[in-house]
């Protein structure tokens, strides 16, 4: 997006390159590589010294670099429906093709998932496990029908964390180092807190953060949440943002006229287009569910609280809590409008959202629009529709502003 001068940005690029390089080199040395879902308890593999790669991050990057279609076509030629999650289609194709426009990932020796973000993962990774003939560790986190995570669900998740440790011991032939586990948990909590603090700068008005940069920062939370480098990065970022606030500057390149909440996953193939459209109106995306998604806080050493933290992920919460969370984001980030991405890939990002958007509007009076898109399949998005919807949102936001003047 903007501003190449930031040291945090250089550091981020370095770390992401290091992430893929370490796994590739490790694989060559015969070390174990896992593929994992984005909000799985990475603490377990980190403790075991297993390299972990994240197909969702990989697919998003391929999409952002405009390389999704050849892989999507390949997956469809193998019988995958065009209606399935495009991250899954890209990754299942990548497993065979092993070539893409982004960094290449070595094939995994094991798989680990946590369905706190969707059950699609289960089906996707079943296929990887079956076709690659490698073990799959699944931490099943039941959908929270209730507002809070119940003790019954926590007990079940906790038992699975123990079972996952047993499976990892079996796969690696090594015993699990509980002291190291404790220190990895501490680092992960520090990283979550540093992330939370840095992201909280979006609440300043005007915001020192360009909201689209969060998409870049997020990659680090997906890939290196259990590493001290992440703590260092987000502390560095927070310092920079503090300085911007003090000097009245911002990463956002134009005057911030409107502040909005973006609901759902980014439209990676059209990130540049979406940003340009926003910038033309002075719209900054200051609110989203992303900051909370990776603020995974628990007590180090307490598996109950860890189970609860991994269960209370936005996509695993009931409708009422989803509404409350968005009202809070809109209020805290002082949003003037909301934009809902009707993402063809993600049924959990869509099927409660007509109701969510209505209820959030009732409580906040903040106008909203929907647009049709997809996280990585470029065929489900139309620039003209997006631009028209944003224009409509701006008109509604302007009307609200005029009335309150």
């Amino acid at each position: 997006m903007s501003d190449d001068k930031l040291t945090s940005k250089q550091y981020l690029n370095e770390l992401m390159a290091q992430h893929y390089q370490e796994a590739s080199e490790g694989k060559k040395r015969g070390e174990l590589v896992a593929w994992s879902s984005s909000i799985a308890p990475q603490e377990l593999c980190e403790t075991m010294g297993i390299h972990v790669l994240y197909p969702e991050n990989h697919a998003a990057a391929i999409g952002a670099k405009g390389g999704a279609l050849p892989l999507i076509d390949y997956a469809e030629s193998k019988g995958y429906s065009a209606d399935l999650c495009s991250y899954a289609r890209i990754n299942l194709a990548y497993k065979d093709v092993q070539d893409c426009v982004f960094e290449n990932m070595p094939l995994p020796d094991l798989l680990i998932i946590c369905n706190n973000i969707c059950n699609t993962l289960i089906k996707w990774y079943e296929n990887l496990s079956t076709q690659l003939k490698i073990p799959l560790i699944c931490i099943d986190v039941p959908y929270n029908v209730e507002y809070e995570v119940t003790q019954e669900r926590i007990d079940y998740i906790k038992a699975q964390l123990k079972e996952a440790i047993r499976q990892l011991e079996e796969i690696t032939g090594k015993s699990f180092d509980y002291d190291r586990f404790h220190s990895v948990m501490e680092t992960s909590i520090q990283a979550a807190k540093a992330w939370e603090k840095a992201m909280s700068y979006a609440k300043y008005k005007p915001s020192p953060i360009n909201g689209f940069n969060i998409y870049n920062y997020m990659a680090l939370m997906v890939c290196m949440r259990g590493r001290p480098e992440s703590v260092k990065f987000f502390n560095l970022l927070a310092d920079e943002l503090e300085e911007l606030v003090q000097t009245g500057q911002s990463q956002y390149p134009v005057e911030e006229k409107y502040r909005i909440m973006w609901d759902g996953i980014a439209c990676w193939p059209y990130l540049g287009h979406n940003f340009k459209t926003f910038k033309s109106y002075g719209i900054n995306m200051v609110g989203s569910t992303y900051p909370e998604a990776w603020t995974i806080l628990y007590e180090a050493g307490d598996l109950d609280s860890m189970a609860r933290a991994y269960s209370a992920i936005v996509l695993n919460l009931n409708l009422k809590r989803n509404i409350d969370m968005r009202v809070k984001i809109i209020e805290e980030c002082q949003c003037d409008g909301a934009i809902y991405h009707l993402n063809r890939s993600c049924k959990l990002c869509d099927f409660m959202h007509y109701k969510i958007s209505e209820e959030v509007y009732k409580r906040t009076g903040v106008p909203y629009v929907f647009f049709d898109g997809d996280q990585t399949d470029p065929r489900h998005f139309a620039k003209a529709q997006f631009e028209t919807r944003i224009q409509a949102l701006v008109e509604m936001m302007e009307k609200n502003k005029a009335q309150s003047r």
């Binding site: 990774y125 959908y143 029908v145 409660m352």
Partner: protein
């Protein structure tokens, strides 16, 4: 044949008039009726309360209001069910039970609570790690919650004895249905694909012991006649459903006989018994650990694909028809693996898209025709 026709007419009556079934049951017993969403539901708990569980598997209806609740790329069974609920078709139901094995079914019960508040929704989340004891213990707590909710609606406590009795009635029903599927193979002229489906589907709208009695009578009546010979090819169906009847009629017109199925609406409902045990809720939970080969039950080695191959061998089928429910993620992910294994085993297959809102089946007619011709030329 008269006996058979009478039984089938009884079955047709309930399948064609589910609303009347609900009204009649309530008037006759003074007890409630609970709608059970696909795919799995602990019906035994409802049954033990003296209430009637009825299956809600959608239907052909014009969709308009449902699209204000969910986008058009939502599974068509769910679109139909929401539409029926908004139109008042389900108003006589005292509650609905929905399980959440997929992302769609996590969301729909949540929406339901807001948009159809007058019909209580009970949402269950089955564990995926169902081979772990912790998974089964957790599922028992989910069933306990369902039991509490049902008791609150009926105003009466469900005794362990009643629950045990209902489990027995359901297990007997499962065995009878499995027997029927085997016997049906010998009577392809009488038990056409449409009739086979009718016999199975009618079980969703009858008290189970009554349905068991009817199906047993049907088996007895059938066995009075010599086995029937029919020219044509034998197929195994897999998928969520093979509805509507018009589709099954196309199979019939082309001489396709259904000799076994792996449909969620059919055999997956009755191929796994509830194991015996002292604690009936625990027994119900333990059944889930034993379910195999279902797209909605964690299956990291995709045993489902080899189960279908074995089903073909066991039943002497010539081919498999994959009835792909449109927008059903779990089924869509299984499809490439199933195809891979069918190809490896040299088993011909046909993929059909199932959409309850489809206006015309002409495309399917052409595809079934050419598939049948291909089978005839290949196998001779």
């Amino acid at each position: 044949m008269e006996g058979i026709n009478r039984i089938l007419a009884d079955m047709q009556r309930v399948v064609s008039n589910p609303r009347q079934v609900v009204k009649d049951y309530k008037a006759k017993t003074g007890k409630g009726v609970v709608g059970c969403f696909p795919v799995y539901c602990p019906e035994e708990i409802v049954h033990a309360a003296g209430m009637l569980p009825v299956g809600l598997w959608g239907g052909q209806t014009q969709i308009s209001q449902a699209l204000t609740i969910v986008p058009s790329f939502c599974c068509s069974i769910m679109q139909s069910n929401i539409e029926y609920a908004l139109k008042g078709t389900y108003d006589d139901l005292d509650a609905v039970i929905m399980s959440s094995p997929c992302d769609t079914l996590k969301s729909i019960p949540q929406d339901w609570g807001y948009v159809i508040p007058h019909i209580k929704v009970i949402q269950i989340v089955y564990p995926q790690m169902r081979k772990l004891d912790a998974g089964i213990q957790y599922l028992k707590t989910e069933f306990q919650r369902v039991k509490n909710e049902i008791e609150a609606i009926s105003g009466e406590e469900i005794s362990e004895e009643a629950l045990r009795k209902s489990i027995d009635i359901y297990n007997e029903h499962r065995q009878t249905m499995r027997d029927f599927c085997m016997v049906a193979r010998d009577y392809p002229l009488t038990i056409t694909p449409v009739i086979r489906h009718l016999v199975i589907k009618s079980g969703f709208f009858m008290e189970k012991s009554e349905h068991t009695r009817l199906v047993s009578e049907l088996i007895t009546e059938l066995k009075k006649h010599p086995a029937e010979k029919r020219a044509g090819k034998k197929v195994v169906l897999t998928g969520i459903t093979a509805e509507p009847d018009e589709l099954l009629r196309i199979f019939d017109e082309n001489g396709l006989m259904v000799v076994a199925d792996d449909l969620a609406q059919e055999s997956r409902q009755f191929r796994t018994d509830v194991p015996a045990g002292a604690d009936p809720l625990l027994s119900l939970a333990m059944q889930w650990a034993e379910v195999e080969g279902c797209s909605l039950a964690y299956d990291p080695q995709k045993q489902r694909a080899s189960m279908i191959v074995n089903m073909v061998k066991e039943s002497g089928a010539d081919a498999v028809v994959l009835c792909m429910m449109k927008f059903c993620d779990p089924e869509e992910f299984d499809q490439p693996i199933i195809i891979e294994q069918l190809e490896a085993a040299g088993i011909p297959y046909l993929c059909l898209e199932i959409d309850q809102q489809i206006q015309s089946l002409e495309r399917d007619r052409t595809r079934v025709q050419s598939f049948t011709e291909m089978l005839a030329s290949q196998i001779g």
